[in-house]
Symmetry: D2
């Protein structure tokens, strides 16, 4: 397939269909609506179902049904809608049902505004719903990566029978960029555990209820084992000039584009800065951070939030290196200039320390 | 008021009314239903409103309305219902509306079962809804503390204009214990910011929408400053024989009762163990943990989950001391015996280390 | 109480409270919203509950609950909202629960517009919900009558344990007129059949389910007997110059005001015209129509619809006299001029008949 | 296609698909659920959509959407669910959107029971929703007729752009009978007025809002003209031995089977009885009834209700002949014996009259 110019949101819908997605249930909300629009346009053309549900609560429960029937299914929303889906996501995680959820983050708690932010990290990565479960979370930093990670999300959701998020912000979702789609269309087989309306599959049990506590505990431990396997096998991160970096900037999504520019500018001044961009937010690249701590002297997390992913950076490093934080929020994208100032400040402190102690 | 024998759930409802609560909107779910039942029985007697809403989504939005009108309002639910309320809680946090939410935790993600668990910690403490906001979270370990912390929750919610949770588990909620209520009934004044239907209050703006990103960012920073003030002033924790402790067990709610027994048993064998029980989960007693790290050599968190609060313990200590974890889940309460074995193992390792390195 | 100037809608809310109404559940819709607004303002002042529900479906189910608890309860809406309540109204009728519903009719099926119409007659009078049941329907033609009939609706609803409508149109609801309220406030006793949360009332059964067909049939026949008693005792209609009328115009609500003007104008020309204004639409004044058929030669129904009540006029007269129809709809109120033309045409035909046959 | 043994409910779903139905939105309720089950099984096989919605309110609104997009769409429900759909049906009628609704009537207002009844006649035939509109209503009396009338319902719904009901009772829906399907599968063209997501159809306006009263009135008159055309062209009824009948029994659906047996038995005794079975309830066979009144001396309506269709019989005959009524309800099917007694009583009165007057 040839290169096309496309919004990240549209790219996600296209990629989903090529990945075998055949059902979309959702409710429109800016800045995610183009995903639903594209799904509405193209799904019927491949015999799939697009449905605008009564509400996000209805949508996620329809996803439960479609996933139980073995259909690759997705939805897309933004903060408020994602919040409304938390009960259903917890149910799907517990019932081990695959699905893909695109969260195109907007600004603020509450209604906020439709500007870009990264304030849903806690909700999406730590589990906004009740009980002990995790979601797979992939965070693209370009329209092309939105294509690739959507495909991967469907693959991992199916393989691990677990909800998977594609977590992006209004910038990645809205800006047009050239993308290339894989030539291969996936026609997924119906999973053998699905309940497809036939006599044989009627005995398949898909449930999130375990009345006996030891049974429930065994089931939760089974889920935990799955999460550990994900951590062992599916961590993804981009290292950008980190090999000799004394300062490692950490940022995901649109922020990483700013950080890359900052790295270049500071390198031009001889400052050894690199960037680690987590691509999978769960599983989180903790091990890679610990490796980098072998030579890096300080880490600095930049987020479009008041500081959420920074917790996972700190937990990974566990005090081995200092972790600084810089954040903007409310729909404000940090400029390269302000981040440059922030990192230059860190570099200056490092230089002072060397003079004093070194 | 004389001492009475009462379930923790009932105690919460009574205490709420004495704290000036005059509206309850909710939807029943085991093991929280006695709170709603008591509210239904007693609120009308004081001229208050009890309403069983169509769903938890409706309930939380009714709370938004009542809180905006300056009425002290509460709800109660358990995991699935709390998930359904996440959108509304984010809205209330952003609009700076006080409310009290009792989450009587049950087992599991999904439907799970009605046994006790602590698996909602991430959701409740880290913010299960979208965007950058925090909730005040108080975790009682007895029916009497349920009384006291419910009253405090109303007070803090009002003072900080923020949602406050009373977070407990099915054990604390269901077991009958003697409780004593404060003799003073609070008759809260209508807050001056409330919209009460009068011509003067019509101009009061209660909103969660800030279309201009710099405005939204300023508002989020205002919220953050509030959270910092809470951390500075309202941390609550119980220290139990921690003064000379080499091993500090950390646990909240029902778990702390098991830990206390374990501390006693190990102390009888000369092992210097103590317990820190976080009472406020947000703000979290990080500073107290850091103080204890002055003399304690190892920390061990015990939770009825696969490990959620342990993150906050690790973030507080930031690698200064090792943090072990022991958890049970699915409705299983850890026995004193198994926790004793777990802690004895830690004590043995410490003793070995002393021999080897000491 | 002194005379006041008031919209019909506001008058209904005031009258309801004086009639002992202590709960209002609803969802605003033009042109009925002033009823909810007034209820919201005044109910809390008398210790009552006003609640804006999530939807009309939620509102009617809350009414079921309040009515079952023995509280005088009302709602108000317009066409689309009344449609959404049909399931609940059928349930309340079957469970013999009293309530008062104000339907301030707007124009059109669908969204239509907010102009006045009488197109909900079939729905409201014939039973828009499923199964064999009837609602009491009272149709005021002035703000004062809105006061009086709202009070009567509560009385009849309670006495007959059945839903009662106050059916009016946007004109009657919106126009300000002087009204006088009864000086006596009704403080209704809790009905003995209510379920009030006490141990004794726990055994009261309020249900609409009768699994055994003969039981269900007996229950439906019991309801029917009640409807027959209503027809025997509570028919209300206004006769306006009908004593010697050869032509009897039939119209309710705002239409009757036009008809009254037309009667006057035609009487001035010596034409013997009168008007029968049904005040109770169920029970319908069939017997009065049959009496008038003793001397009247022709009947003419005028409605703001395509012809709905005219069926009940025809059923009452059963072919004994011709029944003509004139209707406007869509928010158009028929002018006195056009109705005059219509009636003058009838008068001319009567005159011709006399010449030819008489 | 060969003859098959099938429940009426299943036959409706099969027939719908052969008639080009490609979307089904609904919520299960006894005794209609087999229609949804069959639709769920077969629609996906022809590339269609089956969706169990969150509620009947959601289902009817999804139908609005599908119909607006030019897809042949249906739902099925029973009394309570049909009530919940009334708002949406009024919207579809006003927006001139075709759809087919199967109402498999159960007993009672409220929850009632799942036995057969005909108590939804008022709701379905007179318009249970708000405003001046009518639905096409076809009432099969056998599984085969369920096949034929479902096909016709789709045809008429499309031709007249109006909702059409297939109205049956639990007996016709549940009993297995041999049916034969038409060999021809209909592949309906997308109507030219549909909004199909293309640039050209974006300008098509499908709405139920007409803010200007004269516009709304014109639109309602356009709908009325359509209803008159339906009355002129599409009346359907079965005459059974009515040619020389002195007594004409009138009944639809399952009742007509009882009446047919009664006719045979009375004819064996020389009593001239016949039956008129309305097949289309709207348009109603008023003209045929008037023709029969030329020779028949008395009419007797038998219904499984307290008397609803009998109004339309009386309106048709307008006093020209007496109209008797016999009804059972609550899930009780009248036996041939009791109806025989009822009709024999009428016959005896006729004989007496002849003796006295004749």
């Amino acid at each position: 397939m040839a290169r096309q110019l496309m919004k990240g949101n549209e790219a996600i819908a296209h990629s989903a269909i090529l990945a075998g997605c055949r059902a979309f249930y959702g409710y429109p909300i800016t800045p995610s609506s183009e995903i639903a629009e594209s799904a509405a346009l193209y799904l019927p053309q491949v015999g799939g179902v697009f449905l605008q549900a009564e509400s996000e609560v209805a949508a996620i429960n329809m996803m439960y049904g479609a996933a139980a029937a073995g259909v690759r299914v997705m939805t897309a929303s933004s903060g408020p809608g994602i919040s409304l889906m938390q009960e259903g996501i917890s149910y799907m995680a517990c019932a081990e049902l695959p699905c893909v959820i695109a969260d195109v983050m907007r600004a603020g708690p509450g209604l906020g505004n439709v500007g870009p932010e990264q304030g849903d990290y806690y909700q999406v990565v730590k589990g906004g719903g009740h009980g002990c479960y995790r979601s797979i979370v992939l965070a693209p930093a370009s329209a092309q990566e939105a294509v690739d990670l959507t495909r991967l999300a469907f693959h991992l959701a199916d393989e691990y029978r677990n909800p998977a998020y594609v977590l992006l912000d209004a910038c990645i979702g809205q800006v047009m960029e050239p993308v290339e789609f894989p030539s291969e269309t996936i026609a997924p087989a119906t999973p053998e555990w699905a309940v497809t309306g036939t006599a044989e599959t009627r005995k398949h049990v898909i449930t999130s209820i375990y009345l006996d506590p030891p049974d429930m505990e065994r089931h939760i431990q089974k889920l935990e084992a799955k999460y550990r396997r994900l951590e062992a096998r599916h961590v993804r991160a981009e290292r950008y000039r980190t090999d000799d970096a004394e300062i490692v900037l950490v940022g995901y999504g649109i922020v990483s584009r700013v950080l890359q520019a900052v790295v270049e500018q500071l390198r031009a001044h001889g400052i050894r800065v690199g960037m680690l961009r987590p691509i999978s937010l769960f599983p989180f690249p903790s091990e890679i951070l610990r490796e980098l701590a072998g030579h890096a002297r300080v880490f600095a997390t930049v987020e479009m939030s008041t500081g959420q992913m920074v917790d996972d950076v700190r937990l990974a490093l566990n005090g081995r290196r200092p972790v600084e934080f810089y954040g903007r929020c409310g729909g404000v994208v940090p400029s390269a200039e302000e981040v440059l100032d922030f990192v230059a400040g860190i570099a200056a402190r490092l230089a002072n320390e060397e003079v004093l102690h070194g």
